[in-house]
Amino acid sequence: MSIAVFGVNHRTAPLEVRERFAHAARDVPGSLERVLAAGAGGGVLLSTCNRTEFYLNEPADTVPEAVWAILAERLGDGRGAREYGYAHRDRDAVRHLYRVSSGLDSMLLGESQIQGQVREAWEISKGQAGPVLHRLFQSALLVGARVRSETGLGTGAASAPSAAVTLAGKIFNRLAGRSALILGAGDMAELAATCLASEGVRVTLVANRSYERAQAIAEALGARALSLDEAWEHFGEADIVLTSTAAPHAVVTWERVASAIARRGDRPLCILDLAVPRDVEPAVGQLENVFLYDIDDLQAVAAQAAAERRSEIPAAERIVTEEVERFWAWYGGLAVVPVLKEVRDRLERTRAAELERALRRLAHLSAEDREQIEHLTHALLNKFLHRPTVALKEAAQAGRGYGLLEALKKLFDLERPDGG
């Protein structure tokens, strides 16, 4: 009776290694099949850009080798995979999955994307997971949801692009339907634009010094491309402006945009300047109803949220510990049932055989007396088994059944088919 996880994550392996270990959904069943063939009762493979983990039920001793071999093949350069990996067993394996699904083990503490990835891994591996891992993953999703609802681990924007959403969200009532103008083609602006788009913001215009580059980004975002000089007029219309040009000096100056902004009246404008050096002249931020933020501001918002999330770790860990014990109690109880049944079956067979032998020697007894003796043996067996059965079930429910179960197996020699 055991559960184990073998895998690598962002703490144990560099990106270059994690990239190679990552499994596309179509590759998951094949790798799992190989691991299960090495001897396991069920498996789920969780593979994201930050982790590749095999969760296994009842893994045989040969299974770790099979896992490391599959991963080493993906490295393809003769390096071993074990040096990047870790293994957790039983409660530690359950705790690990619960920490993963809660975002406690994520690179960005408390991020919620992992919840969907755990669900996806479970769904892809459903046919190979088996009942124990099925229950484990189902509970992991509930633990993740509980941690998010009962603690502040997932609150706030803990990255600069998501801080852009937070800042814009403090100006506008709803971000859905707002229009955004992007100046420049920096990666950060693209990331922030993606974050804003996920909130329903429409990127309508993309302007860049190189019109071709602007066109490429605009096409990807379903927007219209502009040259940089055409963009200033549109400061009068857009709700959000994201700037990330490679210019060595401020390109958005008061002279260029003040008249367009004046046309807005009281409508607010949020400008997120993600460029280093900055694209927007500080004087633009002095204009009425213009809210100007640079990369330092975004990082300040993100750092604040990250600090708040860190303060929630103890509360989240308490929930995880509580839920690990709950799962382990269920798991312990699950293992008790077949063992108790086997003990009872074995003793019942012994009782029946001994009764038959005794009754052969007592042929003079009436049918009624025989029935009485049979009843007596049944009653004795039940009485002898009652207390150990109750004690074992109680111990299992309290999560202490594993040791007793092992002892029972040894005492009754249950490992062998006939018990000797």
């Binding site: 502040g152 706030g156 969200g169 403090k170 100006i171 506008f172 009532n173 009246g265 009281d266 409508r267 607010p268 931020g285 009425e288 109803n289 809210f291 933020y293 501001d297 300040a300 918002v301 604040q304």
Partner: protein
């Protein structure tokens, strides 16, 4: 019993205020169920107390009814606008008003003479006027929150106000809605007051009429610039605050010129 529901409401309002203010002291924000449920329970208890205020006469019942409307609007703001921060203003104000009402006492020192008890029209006038006043107070609270959040966003200060106050646009909408609902309500209250006066149900000084009309004009201006001239944001918030300040100043001036606890005005 009037006293017990009022005491329960006082306790619940104080608790609701503490829940709203606690995050500003660095404590974890209370779950939404509590920030909604506690004041709502207070409103229910309070409404039971107010319903038993007979005869409805004197300053204490009026303060109590105003506090009831304020907290009811606070609950509506949280429920419909997710603007629990409104409680930063309405919570302490309502708690103070109900506390003051309890201190003054609900039993009138000199009951109205026989035949001069408040008529149903008079009670309707008071109720509608106080609801209008509470709506104007809500507009004031939303405007004040707007200006505070505006200042923090402009100054790039990402502290508790930034985190706990609603977005600017939402506060602006709440202010707009409270103002455009508050003005007609106050107007209806004033008209009912005239009706009661000319039916001989109440005495109104000329000063009250003049200053009341001037205040009404200031309120009309604040609504006018919003609705007709489409002011939004900071300018509209300042107009809203100015109009509510005018209401308060005129009330205080009139009250100081004719002190007493027998009449609200």
């Amino acid at each position: 019993m009037v006293l017990i529901p009022h005491l329960i409401a006082l306790g619940l309002y104080a608790l609701a205020t503490a829940l709203v203010l606690a995050p500003f002291a660095g404590l974890r924000p209370a779950p939404r169920g509590l920030t909604l449920g506690v004041p709502l329970a207070g409103v229910v208890a309070h409404a039971l107390g107010v319903a038993r205020l007979t005869p409805f006469h004197g300053v204490a019942p009026t303060l109590s009814l105003l506090a009831l409307f304020l907290v009811a609007l606070q609950v509506v703001s949280e429920g419909a606008f997710r603007a629990s921060a409104v409680g930063v203003f309405t919570g302490p104000l309502a708690t103070g008003l109900i506390g003051l009402a309890l201190l003054i006492g609900f039993a009138p020192a000199a009951p109205p003479p026989a035949g001069a008890e408040p008529s149903p029209w008079s009670i309707l006038h008071i109720t509608v006027s106080l609801l209008g006043l509470a709506l104007l107070a809500l507009a004031f609270a939303a405007a004040a929150l707007y200006l505070l959040q505006f200042r923090e966003l402009k100054a790039k200060r990402f502290g508790q106000v930034f985190r706990l106050f609603p977005p600017l646009e939402r506060l602006d909408r709440l202010n707009h809605l409270a103002l455009v609902m508050g003005f007609p309500t106050v107007t209806l209250g004033v008209l009912l007051g005239f009706g009661v006066r000319y039916a001989g149900g109440a005495h109104v000084d000329a000063a009250q009429v003049v200053w009341g009309m001037l205040t009404w004009l200031v309120l009309g201006w604040a609504v006018g610039v919003r609705v007709v001239r489409h002011w939004v944001g900071r300018r509209a918030a300042f107009a809203s605050i100015a109009s509510f300040a005018a209401v308060l100043l005129v009330y205080l001036a009139l009250k100081l010129s004719a002190p007493g606890t027998q009449r609200f005005l």
